[in-house]
Symmetry: C2
Subunit: 271 residues, 2 copies
Amino acid sequence: MLSSAAVTLRSSRFAYFAPSARTMSLHVQDMIFRQLFDRETCTYTYLLADAKTKDAVLVDPVIELAERDANLVQELGLNLKYAMNTHMHADHITGSGLLKKLIPGCQSLIAKASGAMADVHVEHGDKVSFGNQTLEVRSTPGHTNGCCTYVSHDGKFALTGDALLIRGCGRTDFQEGSADTLYDSVHSQILSLPNEFSLYPAHDYKGQTVTTVAEEKVYNPRLTKPRETFVDIMNNLNLDYPKKIDVSLPANKVCGLYNLPEDLAAKLKDQ
Amino acid sequence: MLSSAAVTLRSSRFAYFAPSARTMSLHVQDMIFRQLFDRETCTYTYLLADAKTKDAVLVDPVIELAERDANLVQELGLNLKYAMNTHMHADHITGSGLLKKLIPGCQSLIAKASGAMADVHVEHGDKVSFGNQTLEVRSTPGHTNGCCTYVSHDGKFALTGDALLIRGCGRTDFQEGSADTLYDSVHSQILSLPNEFSLYPAHDYKGQTVTTVAEEKVYNPRLTKPRETFVDIMNNLNLDYPKKIDVSLPANKVCGLYNLPEDLAAKLKDQ
Protein backbone atom coordinates (compact mmCIF):
# COMPACT_ATOMS: atom_id res chain seq x y z
CA MET A 1 0.00 0.00 0.00
CA LEU A 2 1.45 3.34 -0.98
CA SER A 3 1.35 5.92 1.73
CA SER A 4 -0.60 9.15 1.74
CA ALA A 5 0.89 12.55 2.38
CA ALA A 6 -0.39 15.90 3.42
CA VAL A 7 1.40 18.56 1.50
CA THR A 8 1.47 22.27 2.01
CA LEU A 9 2.55 24.92 -0.42
CA ARG A 10 4.11 28.02 0.99
CA SER A 11 2.91 31.52 0.46
CA SER A 12 6.15 33.44 0.09
CA ARG A 13 6.89 35.43 -3.02
CA PHE A 14 9.66 33.01 -3.82
CA ALA A 15 7.17 30.20 -4.14
CA TYR A 16 5.97 31.84 -7.31
CA PHE A 17 9.37 31.42 -8.87
CA ALA A 18 9.93 27.98 -7.47
CA PRO A 19 7.23 25.95 -9.17
CA SER A 20 8.03 23.35 -11.75
CA ALA A 21 6.68 20.14 -13.16
CA ARG A 22 7.51 18.64 -9.80
CA THR A 23 6.59 21.17 -7.15
CA MET A 24 3.48 22.37 -8.87
CA SER A 25 2.06 18.93 -9.40
CA LEU A 26 1.00 18.49 -5.83
CA HIS A 27 -2.63 19.06 -6.61
CA VAL A 28 -2.79 16.52 -9.40
CA GLN A 29 -4.39 13.42 -8.08
CA ASP A 30 -4.24 10.40 -10.30
CA MET A 31 -3.16 12.23 -13.41
CA ILE A 32 -0.50 10.71 -15.60
CA PHE A 33 1.58 13.34 -17.36
CA ARG A 34 4.33 12.65 -19.89
CA GLN A 35 6.16 15.24 -21.93
CA LEU A 36 7.58 13.94 -25.21
CA PHE A 37 9.89 15.70 -27.65
CA ASP A 38 10.47 15.80 -31.40
CA ARG A 39 14.11 16.68 -31.84
CA GLU A 40 13.69 17.69 -35.49
CA THR A 41 11.01 20.36 -35.06
CA CYS A 42 11.46 20.93 -31.30
CA THR A 43 7.78 20.06 -30.77
CA TYR A 44 6.49 18.87 -27.42
CA THR A 45 3.75 16.26 -27.38
CA TYR A 46 1.89 15.68 -24.12
CA LEU A 47 0.33 12.44 -22.97
CA LEU A 48 -2.22 13.06 -20.23
CA ALA A 49 -4.32 10.37 -18.63
CA ASP A 50 -6.61 9.61 -15.75
CA ALA A 51 -4.64 6.96 -13.88
CA LYS A 52 -7.85 5.49 -12.48
CA THR A 53 -9.99 5.09 -15.61
CA LYS A 54 -6.97 4.96 -17.97
CA ASP A 55 -8.67 7.38 -20.38
CA ALA A 56 -6.02 9.49 -22.11
CA VAL A 57 -5.38 12.28 -24.58
CA LEU A 58 -2.34 13.10 -26.69
CA VAL A 59 -1.82 16.78 -27.39
CA ASP A 60 0.16 17.94 -30.45
CA PRO A 61 1.42 14.59 -31.69
CA VAL A 62 3.92 14.55 -34.58
CA ILE A 63 3.32 12.10 -37.44
CA GLU A 64 6.88 10.75 -37.54
CA LEU A 65 6.62 9.89 -33.82
CA ALA A 66 3.04 8.63 -33.72
CA GLU A 67 4.25 5.06 -33.37
CA ARG A 68 6.42 6.00 -30.38
CA ASP A 69 3.41 7.65 -28.78
CA ALA A 70 1.01 4.77 -29.58
CA ASN A 71 3.51 2.35 -28.12
CA LEU A 72 3.72 4.29 -24.84
CA VAL A 73 -0.09 4.45 -24.67
CA GLN A 74 -0.19 0.69 -25.07
CA GLU A 75 2.61 0.02 -22.55
CA LEU A 76 0.92 2.17 -19.91
CA GLY A 77 -2.37 0.38 -20.56
CA LEU A 78 -4.24 3.54 -21.55
CA ASN A 79 -7.34 4.13 -23.65
CA LEU A 80 -6.54 6.98 -26.01
CA LYS A 81 -9.70 9.03 -26.34
CA TYR A 82 -8.44 12.03 -28.31
CA ALA A 83 -5.47 12.88 -30.51
CA MET A 84 -5.81 16.63 -30.24
CA ASN A 85 -4.03 19.79 -31.32
CA THR A 86 -3.57 23.23 -29.82
CA HIS A 87 -3.75 24.59 -33.39
CA MET A 88 -3.09 23.77 -37.02
CA HIS A 89 0.71 23.57 -37.02
CA ALA A 90 2.81 24.85 -39.88
CA ASP A 91 6.11 23.26 -38.91
CA HIS A 92 5.20 19.59 -38.76
CA ILE A 93 2.45 17.22 -39.84
CA THR A 94 0.15 16.21 -37.02
CA GLY A 95 0.11 12.60 -35.85
CA SER A 96 -3.67 12.65 -35.26
CA GLY A 97 -4.64 10.77 -38.41
CA LEU A 98 -1.97 8.11 -38.02
CA LEU A 99 -2.85 7.67 -34.34
CA LYS A 100 -6.48 7.09 -35.32
CA LYS A 101 -5.29 4.24 -37.48
CA LEU A 102 -2.86 2.88 -34.88
CA ILE A 103 -5.39 3.10 -32.04
CA PRO A 104 -8.93 2.40 -33.27
CA GLY A 105 -11.57 4.34 -31.37
CA CYS A 106 -9.37 7.39 -30.89
CA GLN A 107 -10.88 10.63 -32.22
CA SER A 108 -9.19 13.75 -33.55
CA LEU A 109 -9.97 17.06 -31.85
CA ILE A 110 -9.11 20.67 -32.71
CA ALA A 111 -10.64 24.15 -32.46
CA LYS A 112 -13.43 24.85 -34.91
CA ALA A 113 -11.75 28.18 -35.71
CA SER A 114 -8.68 26.34 -37.01
CA GLY A 115 -10.50 25.50 -40.23
CA ALA A 116 -9.18 21.93 -40.00
CA MET A 117 -11.33 18.82 -40.24
CA ALA A 118 -11.63 16.71 -37.10
CA ASP A 119 -14.00 14.29 -35.38
CA VAL A 120 -14.54 16.80 -32.59
CA HIS A 121 -14.43 20.58 -32.88
CA VAL A 122 -14.09 22.69 -29.74
CA GLU A 123 -14.67 26.35 -28.91
CA HIS A 124 -13.72 28.74 -26.12
CA GLY A 125 -15.24 27.59 -22.85
CA ASP A 126 -15.66 23.94 -23.84
CA LYS A 127 -14.31 21.17 -21.64
CA VAL A 128 -12.27 18.22 -22.86
CA SER A 129 -12.76 15.32 -20.46
CA PHE A 130 -10.89 12.05 -20.08
CA GLY A 131 -11.92 10.02 -17.07
CA ASN A 132 -12.19 12.37 -14.13
CA GLN A 133 -9.74 14.84 -15.64
CA THR A 134 -10.83 17.98 -17.47
CA LEU A 135 -9.11 20.49 -19.70
CA GLU A 136 -10.73 23.89 -20.18
CA VAL A 137 -10.50 25.17 -23.75
CA ARG A 138 -9.38 28.80 -23.90
CA SER A 139 -9.28 30.47 -27.28
CA THR A 140 -5.88 32.20 -27.64
CA PRO A 141 -5.66 33.44 -31.25
CA GLY A 142 -2.82 35.53 -32.61
CA HIS A 143 -0.30 32.96 -33.84
CA THR A 144 -3.21 31.45 -35.79
CA ASN A 145 -6.94 32.12 -35.59
CA GLY A 146 -7.64 28.68 -34.18
CA CYS A 147 -5.04 28.57 -31.40
CA CYS A 148 -6.24 27.15 -28.09
CA THR A 149 -4.72 26.87 -24.64
CA TYR A 150 -5.85 23.83 -22.65
CA VAL A 151 -6.02 24.50 -18.90
CA SER A 152 -6.04 21.88 -16.14
CA HIS A 153 -7.28 23.75 -13.09
CA ASP A 154 -6.84 20.71 -10.84
CA GLY A 155 -3.35 20.16 -12.17
CA LYS A 156 -2.49 23.85 -12.02
CA PHE A 157 -0.99 23.83 -15.48
CA ALA A 158 -1.79 24.90 -19.03
CA LEU A 159 -0.71 23.65 -22.43
CA THR A 160 -0.16 26.90 -24.27
CA GLY A 161 0.56 25.71 -27.81
CA ASP A 162 2.41 28.44 -29.73
CA ALA A 163 0.61 31.33 -28.03
CA LEU A 164 3.14 31.51 -25.23
CA LEU A 165 6.57 29.90 -25.46
CA ILE A 166 9.17 29.84 -22.66
CA ARG A 167 10.57 33.41 -22.67
CA GLY A 168 8.96 33.88 -26.07
CA CYS A 169 5.84 33.42 -28.20
CA GLY A 170 4.77 32.06 -31.57
CA ARG A 171 5.37 34.15 -34.71
CA THR A 172 2.49 36.21 -36.04
CA ASP A 173 3.53 36.82 -39.65
CA PHE A 174 1.52 34.14 -41.45
CA GLN A 175 -1.58 31.93 -41.06
CA GLU A 176 -3.80 34.93 -40.17
CA GLY A 177 -1.34 35.89 -37.44
CA SER A 178 -1.81 39.12 -35.52
CA ALA A 179 0.56 40.48 -32.88
CA ASP A 180 -2.17 42.70 -31.51
CA THR A 181 -4.54 39.75 -31.08
CA LEU A 182 -1.80 37.57 -29.56
CA TYR A 183 -1.02 40.24 -26.98
CA ASP A 184 -4.65 40.23 -25.84
CA SER A 185 -4.84 36.43 -25.83
CA VAL A 186 -1.75 35.85 -23.73
CA HIS A 187 -2.51 38.56 -21.20
CA SER A 188 -6.23 37.80 -20.80
CA GLN A 189 -6.17 33.98 -21.02
CA ILE A 190 -2.73 32.77 -19.92
CA LEU A 191 -0.88 35.29 -17.76
CA SER A 192 -4.16 35.89 -15.93
CA LEU A 193 -3.92 32.38 -14.49
CA PRO A 194 -2.54 32.10 -10.93
CA ASN A 195 1.20 32.76 -10.64
CA GLU A 196 2.05 29.22 -9.62
CA PHE A 197 0.51 27.58 -12.70
CA SER A 198 3.04 25.65 -14.80
CA LEU A 199 3.00 26.44 -18.51
CA TYR A 200 3.93 23.82 -21.07
CA PRO A 201 4.50 25.11 -24.61
CA ALA A 202 4.23 23.29 -27.95
CA HIS A 203 7.88 24.07 -28.72
CA ASP A 204 11.15 25.01 -27.16
CA TYR A 205 14.36 25.50 -29.09
CA LYS A 206 16.76 25.83 -26.14
CA GLY A 207 16.04 22.61 -24.26
CA GLN A 208 13.77 24.19 -21.66
CA THR A 209 10.78 22.05 -20.70
CA VAL A 210 8.47 24.13 -18.54
CA THR A 211 7.89 27.62 -17.15
CA THR A 212 5.36 29.30 -14.87
CA VAL A 213 2.96 32.22 -15.09
CA ALA A 214 5.06 34.07 -12.51
CA GLU A 215 8.28 33.63 -14.47
CA GLU A 216 6.80 34.76 -17.80
CA LYS A 217 5.23 37.81 -16.19
CA VAL A 218 8.71 38.91 -15.13
CA TYR A 219 11.12 37.41 -17.65
CA ASN A 220 9.33 37.09 -21.01
CA PRO A 221 11.35 39.49 -23.15
CA ARG A 222 8.44 40.25 -25.49
CA LEU A 223 5.24 39.98 -23.47
CA THR A 224 6.44 42.07 -20.55
CA LYS A 225 6.64 45.01 -22.96
CA PRO A 226 3.81 47.52 -23.60
CA ARG A 227 1.45 46.49 -26.42
CA GLU A 228 2.93 48.87 -28.99
CA THR A 229 6.48 47.70 -28.32
CA PHE A 230 5.36 44.07 -28.54
CA VAL A 231 3.65 44.63 -31.87
CA ASP A 232 6.72 46.40 -33.16
CA ILE A 233 8.99 43.53 -32.04
CA MET A 234 6.74 40.95 -33.69
CA ASN A 235 6.48 42.90 -36.94
CA ASN A 236 10.24 43.15 -37.27
CA LEU A 237 11.42 39.61 -36.52
CA ASN A 238 12.29 39.01 -40.20
CA LEU A 239 12.03 35.24 -39.77
CA ASP A 240 12.63 32.76 -42.58
CA TYR A 241 9.64 31.31 -44.40
CA PRO A 242 8.66 28.17 -42.42
CA LYS A 243 10.41 25.21 -44.06
CA LYS A 244 7.57 22.72 -43.89
CA ILE A 245 4.54 25.02 -44.15
CA ASP A 246 3.61 24.11 -47.72
CA VAL A 247 3.49 20.41 -46.87
CA SER A 248 2.16 20.75 -43.33
CA LEU A 249 -0.86 23.00 -43.75
CA PRO A 250 -2.72 21.04 -46.46
CA ALA A 251 -2.03 17.81 -44.55
CA ASN A 252 -3.04 19.28 -41.19
CA LYS A 253 -6.38 20.40 -42.58
CA VAL A 254 -7.28 16.71 -42.71
CA CYS A 255 -5.60 15.28 -39.58
CA GLY A 256 -2.26 14.90 -41.33
CA LEU A 257 -3.54 12.49 -43.94
CA TYR A 258 -3.18 14.39 -47.22
CA ASN A 259 -0.57 14.21 -49.94
CA LEU A 260 2.04 12.81 -47.60
CA PRO A 261 5.71 12.34 -48.40
CA GLU A 262 6.29 8.81 -49.78
CA ASP A 263 7.78 7.28 -46.64
CA LEU A 264 4.90 8.45 -44.47
CA ALA A 265 2.29 7.41 -47.03
CA ALA A 266 3.85 3.95 -47.10
CA LYS A 267 3.73 3.80 -43.31
CA LEU A 268 0.03 4.63 -43.36
CA LYS A 269 -0.68 2.05 -46.03
CA ASP A 270 0.81 -0.62 -43.78
CA GLN A 271 -1.73 0.11 -41.05
CA MET B 1 -2.02 32.05 0.37
CA LEU B 2 -1.66 28.83 -1.57
CA SER B 3 -3.91 26.06 -0.41
CA SER B 4 -2.84 22.73 1.04
CA ALA B 5 -4.00 19.36 -0.17
CA ALA B 6 -4.12 15.86 1.18
CA VAL B 7 -3.17 13.45 -1.54
CA THR B 8 -3.42 9.70 -1.64
CA LEU B 9 -1.66 7.32 -3.94
CA ARG B 10 -3.45 4.16 -4.90
CA SER B 11 -2.21 0.66 -4.37
CA SER B 12 -3.39 -1.08 -7.54
CA ARG B 13 -0.93 -2.77 -9.86
CA PHE B 14 -1.77 -0.16 -12.46
CA ALA B 15 -0.41 2.56 -10.23
CA TYR B 16 3.03 1.17 -10.90
CA PHE B 17 2.67 1.92 -14.58
CA ALA B 18 0.99 5.22 -14.07
CA PRO B 19 3.69 7.25 -12.35
CA SER B 20 5.44 10.09 -14.05
CA ALA B 21 7.10 13.35 -13.20
CA ARG B 22 3.66 14.53 -12.24
CA THR B 23 1.95 11.70 -10.41
CA MET B 24 5.03 10.53 -8.60
CA SER B 25 5.99 13.93 -7.34
CA LEU B 26 3.38 14.00 -4.66
CA HIS B 27 5.88 13.33 -1.92
CA VAL B 28 8.25 16.07 -2.94
CA GLN B 29 7.77 18.96 -0.63
CA ASP B 30 9.46 22.15 -1.56
CA MET B 31 11.75 20.70 -4.19
CA ILE B 32 12.26 22.55 -7.43
CA PHE B 33 12.91 20.21 -10.33
CA ARG B 34 13.72 21.27 -13.88
CA GLN B 35 14.72 18.98 -16.70
CA LEU B 36 16.81 20.65 -19.40
CA PHE B 37 17.90 19.24 -22.75
CA ASP B 38 20.88 19.51 -25.08
CA ARG B 39 19.53 18.88 -28.54
CA GLU B 40 22.95 18.17 -30.04
CA THR B 41 24.04 15.34 -27.75
CA CYS B 42 20.58 14.48 -26.35
CA THR B 43 21.87 15.08 -22.83
CA TYR B 44 19.54 15.89 -19.96
CA THR B 45 20.71 18.35 -17.34
CA TYR B 46 18.76 18.51 -14.09
CA LEU B 47 18.35 21.56 -11.88
CA LEU B 48 17.23 20.55 -8.39
CA ALA B 49 16.73 22.97 -5.54
CA ASP B 50 15.33 23.33 -2.10
CA ALA B 51 12.59 25.90 -2.63
CA LYS B 52 12.88 27.05 0.97
CA THR B 53 16.62 27.63 1.35
CA LYS B 54 17.19 28.14 -2.42
CA ASP B 55 20.24 25.86 -2.34
CA ALA B 56 20.56 24.07 -5.67
CA VAL B 57 22.54 21.53 -7.69
CA LEU B 58 22.93 21.09 -11.45
CA VAL B 59 23.48 17.51 -12.56
CA ASP B 60 25.24 16.74 -15.85
CA PRO B 61 25.52 20.26 -17.25
CA VAL B 62 26.81 20.69 -20.83
CA ILE B 63 29.46 23.35 -21.46
CA GLU B 64 27.71 24.90 -24.49
CA LEU B 65 24.57 25.41 -22.38
CA ALA B 66 26.17 26.46 -19.09
CA GLU B 67 25.09 30.04 -19.66
CA ARG B 68 21.46 28.97 -20.18
CA ASP B 69 21.65 27.01 -16.93
CA ALA B 70 23.35 29.81 -14.98
CA ASN B 71 20.72 32.23 -16.23
CA LEU B 72 17.89 30.00 -14.99
CA VAL B 73 19.62 29.63 -11.62
CA GLN B 74 19.80 33.40 -11.39
CA GLU B 75 16.20 33.98 -12.54
CA LEU B 76 14.86 31.51 -9.98
CA GLY B 77 16.93 33.17 -7.26
CA LEU B 78 18.89 30.02 -6.41
CA ASN B 79 22.27 29.45 -4.78
CA LEU B 80 24.09 26.88 -6.88
CA LYS B 81 26.02 24.69 -4.49
CA TYR B 82 27.28 21.96 -6.81
CA ALA B 83 27.78 21.47 -10.53
CA MET B 84 27.92 17.71 -10.44
CA ASN B 85 28.13 14.76 -12.81
CA THR B 86 26.79 11.23 -12.79
CA HIS B 87 30.05 10.19 -14.50
CA MET B 88 32.85 11.37 -16.76
CA HIS B 89 30.97 11.78 -20.03
CA ALA B 90 32.51 10.87 -23.37
CA ASP B 91 29.94 12.54 -25.63
CA HIS B 92 30.08 16.13 -24.42
CA ILE B 93 32.23 18.44 -22.34
CA THR B 94 30.86 19.06 -18.86
CA GLY B 95 29.66 22.53 -17.95
CA SER B 96 31.02 22.23 -14.38
CA GLY B 97 34.12 24.32 -14.90
CA LEU B 98 32.35 27.10 -16.78
CA LEU B 99 29.56 27.15 -14.18
CA LYS B 100 32.16 27.61 -11.45
CA LYS B 101 33.31 30.72 -13.28
CA LEU B 102 29.80 31.96 -14.00
CA ILE B 103 28.58 31.35 -10.44
CA PRO B 104 31.34 31.97 -7.90
CA GLY B 105 31.08 29.71 -4.87
CA CYS B 106 29.74 26.77 -6.82
CA GLN B 107 31.80 23.57 -6.45
CA SER B 108 32.28 20.68 -8.86
CA LEU B 109 31.37 17.19 -7.65
CA ILE B 110 31.89 13.73 -9.16
CA ALA B 111 32.61 10.17 -8.01
CA LYS B 112 36.15 9.54 -6.85
CA ALA B 113 36.20 6.39 -9.00
CA SER B 114 35.72 8.50 -12.14
CA GLY B 115 39.35 9.54 -12.04
CA ALA B 116 38.32 13.13 -12.73
CA MET B 117 39.42 16.13 -10.72
CA ALA B 118 36.74 17.93 -8.72
CA ASP B 119 36.29 20.05 -5.61
CA VAL B 120 34.26 17.28 -4.01
CA HIS B 121 34.65 13.55 -4.58
CA VAL B 122 31.85 11.19 -3.56
CA GLU B 123 31.61 7.46 -2.99
CA HIS B 124 28.85 4.87 -2.68
CA GLY B 125 26.69 5.64 0.33
CA ASP B 126 27.57 9.33 0.53
CA LYS B 127 24.84 11.96 0.69
CA VAL B 128 24.74 15.11 -1.40
CA SER B 129 22.74 17.74 0.46
CA PHE B 130 21.31 21.05 -0.69
CA GLY B 131 19.11 22.77 1.86
CA ASN B 132 16.79 20.15 3.30
CA GLN B 133 17.05 17.96 0.22
CA THR B 134 19.32 14.94 0.00
CA LEU B 135 20.55 12.73 -2.82
CA GLU B 136 21.96 9.32 -1.94
CA VAL B 137 25.01 8.38 -4.00
CA ARG B 138 24.79 4.85 -5.38
CA SER B 139 27.77 3.48 -7.26
CA THR B 140 26.50 1.98 -10.54
CA PRO B 141 29.58 1.09 -12.61
CA GLY B 142 29.50 -0.72 -15.94
CA HIS B 143 29.20 2.08 -18.49
CA THR B 144 32.24 3.61 -16.75
CA ASN B 145 33.93 2.72 -13.47
CA GLY B 146 32.86 5.98 -11.87
CA CYS B 147 29.15 5.98 -12.77
CA CYS B 148 26.79 7.03 -9.99
CA THR B 149 23.04 7.09 -9.62
CA TYR B 150 21.70 9.87 -7.40
CA VAL B 151 18.57 8.85 -5.48
CA SER B 152 16.03 11.21 -3.89
CA HIS B 153 14.10 9.00 -1.49
CA ASP B 154 11.76 11.83 -0.51
CA GLY B 155 11.16 12.69 -4.14
CA LYS B 156 10.81 9.05 -5.14
CA PHE B 157 13.09 9.46 -8.12
CA ALA B 158 16.61 8.69 -9.26
CA LEU B 159 18.98 10.30 -11.74
CA THR B 160 20.48 7.25 -13.41
CA GLY B 161 23.13 8.79 -15.65
CA ASP B 162 24.04 6.36 -18.43
CA ALA B 163 23.61 3.23 -16.31
CA LEU B 164 19.93 2.94 -17.15
CA LEU B 165 18.37 4.76 -20.09
CA ILE B 166 14.66 4.69 -20.99
CA ARG B 167 14.17 1.24 -22.54
CA GLY B 168 17.94 0.97 -22.84
CA CYS B 169 21.30 1.46 -21.12
CA GLY B 170 24.68 3.05 -21.72
CA ARG B 171 27.24 1.31 -23.93
CA THR B 172 29.92 -0.80 -22.26
CA ASP B 173 32.59 -1.03 -24.97
CA PHE B 174 34.99 1.70 -23.86
CA GLN B 175 36.05 3.70 -20.75
CA GLU B 176 36.53 0.50 -18.69
CA GLY B 177 32.99 -0.56 -19.58
CA SER B 178 31.72 -3.98 -18.55
CA ALA B 179 28.32 -5.42 -19.45
CA ASP B 180 28.58 -7.90 -16.62
CA THR B 181 29.22 -5.15 -14.08
CA LEU B 182 26.45 -2.96 -15.53
CA TYR B 183 23.94 -5.80 -15.19
CA ASP B 184 24.74 -6.10 -11.49
CA SER B 185 24.64 -2.33 -10.96
CA VAL B 186 21.26 -1.78 -12.58
CA HIS B 187 19.58 -4.74 -10.93
CA SER B 188 21.01 -4.22 -7.44
CA GLN B 189 20.99 -0.41 -7.24
CA ILE B 190 18.28 0.90 -9.58
CA LEU B 191 15.62 -1.71 -10.38
CA SER B 192 15.67 -2.65 -6.70
CA LEU B 193 14.11 0.73 -5.88
CA PRO B 194 10.33 0.75 -5.33
CA ASN B 195 8.27 0.27 -8.50
CA GLU B 196 6.79 3.74 -8.42
CA PHE B 197 10.13 5.58 -8.43
CA SER B 198 10.61 7.81 -11.46
CA LEU B 199 13.89 7.36 -13.31
CA TYR B 200 15.53 10.27 -15.12
CA PRO B 201 18.39 9.32 -17.45
CA ALA B 202 21.33 11.43 -18.68
CA HIS B 203 20.25 10.91 -22.29
CA ASP B 204 17.34 10.01 -24.47
CA TYR B 205 17.47 9.87 -28.23
CA LYS B 206 13.74 9.41 -28.91
CA GLY B 207 12.29 12.40 -27.08
CA GLN B 208 11.24 10.48 -23.98
CA THR B 209 11.75 12.36 -20.73
CA VAL B 210 11.12 9.95 -17.86
CA THR B 211 10.38 6.33 -17.01
CA THR B 212 9.73 4.32 -13.85
CA VAL B 213 11.25 1.31 -12.14
CA ALA B 214 8.08 -0.67 -12.89
CA GLU B 215 8.18 0.12 -16.58
CA GLU B 216 11.84 -0.78 -17.04
CA LYS B 217 11.39 -4.04 -15.16
CA VAL B 218 8.82 -5.05 -17.77
CA TYR B 219 9.74 -3.19 -20.96
CA ASN B 220 13.52 -2.67 -21.00
CA PRO B 221 14.52 -4.74 -24.03
CA ARG B 222 18.02 -5.44 -22.69
CA LEU B 223 17.83 -5.53 -18.92
CA THR B 224 14.81 -7.82 -18.72
CA LYS B 225 16.97 -10.52 -20.33
CA PRO B 226 19.05 -13.10 -18.42
CA ARG B 227 22.60 -11.95 -17.65
CA GLU B 228 24.24 -14.01 -20.40
CA THR B 229 21.85 -12.69 -23.06
CA PHE B 230 22.39 -9.13 -21.85
CA VAL B 231 26.17 -9.48 -22.02
CA ASP B 232 25.85 -10.98 -25.48
CA ILE B 233 23.63 -8.09 -26.66
CA MET B 234 26.03 -5.49 -25.26
CA ASN B 235 29.10 -7.15 -26.78
CA ASN B 236 27.53 -7.15 -30.24
CA LEU B 237 26.13 -3.64 -30.58
CA ASN B 238 28.87 -2.66 -33.05
CA LEU B 239 28.44 1.03 -32.28
CA ASP B 240 30.45 3.78 -33.94
CA TYR B 241 33.44 5.23 -32.09
CA PRO B 242 32.04 8.12 -29.98
CA LYS B 243 32.45 11.29 -32.03
CA LYS B 244 33.54 13.60 -29.25
CA ILE B 245 35.39 11.19 -26.95
CA ASP B 246 38.90 12.36 -27.79
CA VAL B 247 38.01 15.95 -26.93
CA SER B 248 35.60 15.22 -24.08
CA LEU B 249 37.57 12.86 -21.86
CA PRO B 250 40.74 14.95 -21.39
CA ALA B 251 38.56 18.02 -20.76
CA ASN B 252 36.19 16.21 -18.40
CA LYS B 253 39.11 15.03 -16.27
CA VAL B 254 39.47 18.67 -15.22
CA CYS B 255 35.85 19.90 -15.03
CA GLY B 256 35.71 20.62 -18.74
CA LEU B 257 38.50 23.18 -18.67
CA TYR B 258 41.29 21.60 -20.74
CA ASN B 259 42.38 22.19 -24.29
CA LEU B 260 38.98 23.54 -25.30
CA PRO B 261 37.87 24.28 -28.84
CA GLU B 262 38.60 27.93 -29.69
CA ASP B 263 35.04 29.26 -29.34
CA LEU B 264 34.63 27.76 -25.89
CA ALA B 265 38.07 28.84 -24.75
CA ALA B 266 37.21 32.39 -25.81
CA LYS B 267 33.97 32.20 -23.87
CA LEU B 268 35.86 31.17 -20.74
CA LYS B 269 38.41 33.92 -21.19
CA ASP B 270 35.59 36.46 -21.13
CA GLN B 271 34.51 35.34 -17.65
